[in-house]
Symmetry: D2
Subunit: 137 residues, 4 copies
């Protein structure tokens, strides 16, 4: 089940074209990603002490521009899981009209701040994602 964040477009996020600047959709995705973890008992400030999840790949497909003060709905879920990386998929829609604004993906690795090394996805994190990407698959 995707997590959902509701985001109001801020002035600082628009640009001189009158629309949301393209890099800011990656910020919106992150907000929903953090929300996903929070809803599963993993507030980010705690997660960061145990594991870092650097983004290895990010992509965004822009469908329709969002504008100042628009209320956006950002849905995030884990769409893929490998041994040492996992992928979040996102869907950004206009909260009132339902129109699709953008879709995106981020692939993350797991980095252990203690050993300062890349590691396989730890079991507790697999468990967090298990609803989306069951172990058997």
């Amino acid at each position: 089940m995707p997590a959902e964040a509701t985001i109001r477009v801020r002035y600082a996020e628009t640009d001189t074209m009158g629309i949301v600047y393209y890099a800011n959709y990656l910020i919106y995705m992150e907000v929903a990603r953090v929300e996903y973890l929070r809803q599963r008992g993993c507030p980010m400030a705690e997660v960061d002490r145990k594991i870092h999840m650097p983004v290895v790949d990010a992509s965004c497909h822009y469908v329709k521009p969002a504008r100042l003060d628009d209320l956006l709905r950002v849905r995030a879920h884990v769409s893929k899981r490998k041994r040492a990386s996992f992928t979040f998929s996102y869907e950004i829609t206009h909260a009132e009209t339902g129109e699709l604004i953008a879709t995106g993906e981020t692939r993350h690795a797991c980095w252990d701040p203690e050993s300062q090394k890349m590691i396989a996805i730890p079991d507790w994190l697999k468990h967090v994602m298990s609803e989306d990407v069951p172990d058997a698959v």
Copy 2:
């Protein structure tokens, strides 16, 4: 020939992980893209009056984190051209060590602010890109 921008990483662009926040690489790409056009006689403020080039797709592959005060070199060139869209490819390296930091791509459409419609790439813009993507191809 790629255009090149040299960018010093600012505090505001780092995050609490001690590295450049992932969305900011899309800003760096844009700086090099604007530089590409400027070097070919098309300063952005002028271009914007004639045509808008909304990003349709963006992607970034993160290889090595950049940090506060790092000096980055961002290279941009047009790697693909279709009738109504074109693609910029980017390479971000550490300016001093030459290490690869990230690569990326942005695909753009052409929107005419006068008719308020999507249009094919106008001839003057094709000409700007002709060194990278010759007409015959």
Copy 3:
């Protein structure tokens, strides 16, 4: 009565010092300022068509750093009104502990997009602020 916005600190808003980057408090202030107007029947997208309110002066006093994922409460109210400018005052506190994070002020002028000129505060806008800064004062 101040308007109140609740803001969750995002990754992008922190810096390599592990705290919220100082310029971002001005973004938080703006979110509360926009909320103030919305709660008084003036959604920003509508306001912008009638009048622009460029910031003439901004200041922020930083008391205690906010960190990733902190939930902040930002209160905004109009604290001063002159013929052609008005001042918003802000208080940013930690939403859970109540600790004071920062205070700030922004002074705004009124610019008419139609005549492209600075103007006195229009009556409808005075009315919006009348609870905070009564006309008699």
Copy 4:
């Protein structure tokens, strides 16, 4: 003698009003502040290991809006020094026309990352600023 940074306004820094978003001037100030230290032999990445200089107060006075692709000149110098805090003053002008865009100030405290305490300005840092704020004053 003030340090000087030359900054080209980026898309991401403009907003839907067609001008640079007000919080971003604080980023420009920081760029010049870091440049000031670099020119005096203190690259930021090194400074951060020895001392943190959290902003206690920041203010900006906006004179004339900057726009996309404008080339700005940001001058920074230390204008005041007390036992445990110091103040940078900034002047932002249009690099080509010389027009004044904004002025600003930031007051900084000194925080020792080792003892995790606020401290007086260390002697090496006083020395760095001695040209602007001589000891005798």
